[in-house]
């Protein structure tokens, strides 16, 4: 059992502690799958080789099916708890293929699939043992695809980069890139908190301006 698998097992209790959290987490997976689907169909548009383009397209379609499966289950659980269901997933998209190039893109996707696979194995088992066969089967069905994706992305990666060693280098590069991205994301999240705080303060400080603006009568309605 990998470190990540052990971690996933450990966090299972927290992540799935209530219906509400389970629904939210599944919705999160739906978003991630949907984002990945869009990224992959972009890759299909851009890839020079039609065979590879077709595999990306196929992969994209798997991901968007996964998104729908997660979404549906999240909705069911949400409704069960009396929360509003979720609409169609609307993901953030990075358009990574254009940004990273094919080899690094593949390395990134491969790492993502591997991560998903190890997590989902744990989660599938978790739900089986916690009397939620439906959620377990969602994970199980997604898992089948993730295993295939993990494998084919690695094969293509090796073929494209020329050797196993070069592929491993690409994977390490991708790990570093992800680390940096995570760092930047946290930085940005922090700076937006600071910004929000600053803007709140500013809004309160500008009360005099506000009073001036309010004192001026707003424009009358009607044609100008």
């Amino acid at each position: 059992m990998s470190l990540r698998g052990a971690l996933a097992r450990l966090t299972s209790l927290v992540v799935w502690r209530s219906l509400k959290h389970t629904a939210a987490k599944l919705h999160g997976f739906a978003l991630a799958e949907q984002g990945s689907a869009i990224d992959l169909s972009m890759a299909a548009q851009l890839a020079a080789d039609p065979e590879r383009a077709a595999s990306y397209l196929q992969h994209a379609m798997d991901e968007s099916r996964h998104a729908m499966m997660f979404q549906r289950r999240a909705g069911e659980l949400a409704v069960k708890r009396g929360m509003p269901s979720y609409g169609a997933p609307r993901a953030d998209v990075d358009h990574l293929y254009g940004m990273l190039g094919e080899i690094d893109f593949l390395a990134f996707v491969h790492r993502g699939e591997r991560r998903a696979r190890t997590q989902f194995e744990v989660y599938a088992r978790y739900f089986e043992t916690h009397d939620d066969a439906k959620t377990a089967s969602v994970f199980a069905r997604v898992l089948e695809d993730e295993r295939r994706h993990e494998q084919y992305t690695y094969e293509v990666l090796v073929r494209l980069s020329g050797s196993e060693a070069a592929a491993r280098r690409a994977l390490r590069r991708s790990a570093r890139w992800e680390l940096r991205r995570t760092w930047l994301r946290h930085g940005r999240a922090l700076s937006s908190r600071v910004f929000t705080l600053g803007m709140w303060l500013l809004y309160l400080v500008i009360a005099p301006f506000a009073l001036i603006m309010r004192a001026r009568a707003p424009r009358a309605s009607g044609w100008r």
Binding site: R188, S191, S192, F195, G198, L202, F209, I212
Partner: protein, 60 residues
């Protein structure tokens, strides 16, 4: 050179914003706008905000 040109462009935008507020007779707001633009420029330089704002109607 391009970095310099970009900075020059940003300064021109700031000038245009101020000119707009002046021509709209919003003199009172100009100091406020200056502060805001400085904050905005800082935001641009630090790589933008992580704001993905779920507004119902994109009024802003």
């Amino acid at each position: 050179m391009t970095a310099l040109r970009r900075l020059g462009n940003r300064l021109r935008t700031i000038r245009e914003v101020l000119a707009h507020f002046a021509s709209a007779q919003r003199f009172v707001l100009i100091p406020l706008v200056l502060v805001l633009l400085a904050a905005g420029l800082l935001l641009m330089l630090t790589g933008g905000l992580a704001y993905v704002a779920p507004f119902v109607y994109a009024l802003f």
